[in-house]
């Protein structure tokens, strides 16, 4: 219907506001971040061109490596329970009986609440003296003294925070897995039933292989989210002890805002952005192919 030049202009006019918005509020900041990463800038003094020195400095910056390694540790700790747990919950609730549907709805509730707010909630639950986690563990007799969960030991904090985030986001993977499981053609399931396959055989030989793409996709989304972790650590440990629980995003935040090392912060952001970019491109390629 629309073929002439006028309609091209009309189309562009409808597209223009969004395009201008993205150019101003995403593309321009992106360019400025690249520019800043080659400068030293503390806001008070004018920016000074320093070439690659911000990037070189990173290599010898212990705090950078600590935050980088800690972020990887957190990601490695939280991803397996999220994927395996999410998948088990999906297997449990993929059928449409009322009880299973209710369970599905309940498991998904924490996904819609904020990570910041859920972190505050768990900050209370894990509090040494005022928290119910210690109270319950003491009552059961599993421990004799309250455990200092947060901000005293990096590994203990990592464990507690991971547990809280698993609670918050496990429903996300579950929902996507349910979608994938329900998309399996019923003929395939029926055929395996006729062949006398046990439940376990059906899951491992039919369901799991046919939903592998979704498993990979959810894993990538979780990994990207974990590599960008900030709220949970800012709220539950504030990086303590001695910035040992400061994640990569946390370290970017520290340098850019409290320390006002804008150039260095931008260089750190670049590393973060490029890492995420690599994962996201793989994820987008996967999504695109699954649509075709």
């Amino acid at each position: 219907m629309y073929r002439n030049r006028r309609s091209r202009l009309v189309g562009l006019a409808y597209l223009a506001p969004a395009l201008i918005f993205v150019l101003v509020f995403t593309v321009y900041p992106l360019g400025q971040m690249v520019w800043m990463s080659f400068h030293n800038w503390s806001l008070i003094t004018p920016p000074v061109w320093v070439g690659l020195s911000n990037y070189r400095r990173m290599l010898g910056d212990d705090q950078f490596w600590t935050s980088f390694v800690f972020t990887l540790k957190y990601t490695a700790l939280i991803t397996p329970p999220l994927i395996v747990g999410g998948y088990l919950l999906a297997l449990l609730t993929a059928t449409n009986t009322p009880l299973r549907r209710v369970t599905r709805t309940v498991v998904f509730i924490p996904v819609v609440i904020g990570l910041g707010v859920s972190s505050l909630l768990w900050y209370w639950l894990f509090s040494a003296d005022f928290g119910l986690v210690n109270r319950a563990l003491l009552d059961i007799g599993l421990i004799d003294e309250p455990i200092l969960w947060l901000g005293v030991d990096a590994d203990t904090s990592n464990f507690a925070i991971s547990a809280s985030v698993v609670w918050k986001v496990i429903g996300f993977g579950m929902i996507l897995f349910i979608g994938a499981i329900q998309a399996i053609p019923s003929e395939i399931t029926e055929a395996s039933l006729v062949d006398g396959a046990s439940y376990r055989q059906r899951v491992t030989r039919v369901v799991l292989p046919l939903t592998m793409r979704t498993v990979l996709l959810v894993t990538l989304v979780s990994v990207i989210g974990s590599l960008l972790a900030f709220d949970q650590f800012y709220i539950m440990t504030a990086g303590q002890p001695q910035n040992e629980t400061a994640t990569s995003t946390f370290y970017v935040y520290l340098n850019s805002f409290p320390y006002l090392k804008l150039g260095y912060g931008a260089a750190l952001s670049m590393v973060l952005a490029v890492t995420i970019l690599a994962f996201t491109v793989v994820q987008l390629l996967l999504t695109r192919r699954s649509h075709a």
Partner: protein, 276 residues
């Protein structure tokens, strides 16, 4: 067969309990009397019910109504800006022959591959220059950049599914392109619009890091910010745990209600936009 059914039932009950327990405990703690809320060891179930914590939250610093209004205002502005930008853009992509359409679409989706967390400093500097820091509009603009690709993706898919004949018939009848959008595309895409608004609301209401960077004045704080600030309050006796629980309850409630009411849109939106 029967035993399996009981076993599945039991597992479901356990799972629901584990998932709901933290929320229920926080709700219970929010109605403990002041003394009990600060007790060690903490009690599981309140011995008496009181709304002290809520009234302290109501008066906390600038007062709860300010923070509720800030959070709600930012979320509404985010929904409005997101829809104003993405509805016409999705219409353009679905209906018009635009030169370099694919390239423009990729640019519009750029925020999907560049995390906003990494762009915060340059955005903060720009907002400071044009006077958008410490304003709800500024925060809403930031939230829109986060939400835009997902919204555009959902709306474009929905608009692309509108039958061509419908739009063509309207054009033959002499409808302008704007009327075609309003009378043909929008009415058949109500679910997509609801999905976009729902996701924008929940994201904006809950977003933390961007608000932390953009808002430095207490009077412009959103709920997550003021609660995080209340956590470290150390004036006599440390954290006011009861007030914190009241705040948690209040900020969780709208999200859960909206989700329970609009579950269908949320889940289908998530599945069609699994990229985000």
């Amino acid at each position: 067969m029967r035993r399996t059914r009981y076993l599945v039932g039991a597992v479901c009950v356990v799972v629901c309990t584990v998932m709901l327990l933290p929320l229920v405990m926080s709700l219970l703690a929010s109605v403990k009397p002041t003394q009990e809320a600060a007790a060690t060891p903490p009690t599981y179930v309140p011995h008496a019910v009181s709304l002290d914590s809520y009234s302290r939250l109501w008066d906390y610093q600038q007062g709860l109504p300010t923070y509720l209004a800030n959070s709600f205002g930012t979320a509404m502005l985010t929904i409005a800006i997101t829809l104003l930008l993405t509805v016409p853009a999705a219409y353009a992509l679905a209906q018009f022959p635009i030169p370099l359409k694919e390239v423009l679409f990729v640019i519009l989706l750029l925020a999907l591959i560049v995390p906003y967390q990494a762009l915060l400093t340059p955005m903060f500097l720009m907002f400071a220059r044009i006077g958008l820091t410490n304003t709800l509009l500024g925060l809403a603009i930031l939230h829109t950049t986060i939400q835009l690709p997902f919204s555009l993706y959902i709306l474009r898919n929905s608009f692309s599914a509108v039958p061509r004949e419908l739009a063509e018939a309207a054009i033959v009848d002499g409808a302008s392109s704007w009327q075609v959008l309003r009378r043909v595309f929008l009415p058949s895409s109500v679910p997509a619009v609801v999905t976009v608004a729902l996701f924008a609301f929940i994201m904006s209401w809950n977003e933390f890091l961007g608000a932390l960077v953009m808002m430095s004045k207490g009077s412009t704080f959103t709920l997550p910010l003021i609660l995080a600030a209340a956590r470290t309050e150390t004036s006599l006796g440390g954290t006011d745990w009861g007030m914190l629980q009241a705040g948690i309850t209040i900020s969780i409630l709208p999200c859960v209600l909206v989700y329970l009411l609009l579950q269908r849109y949320y889940v289908s939106g998530l599945m069609s936009g699994a990229v985000k």
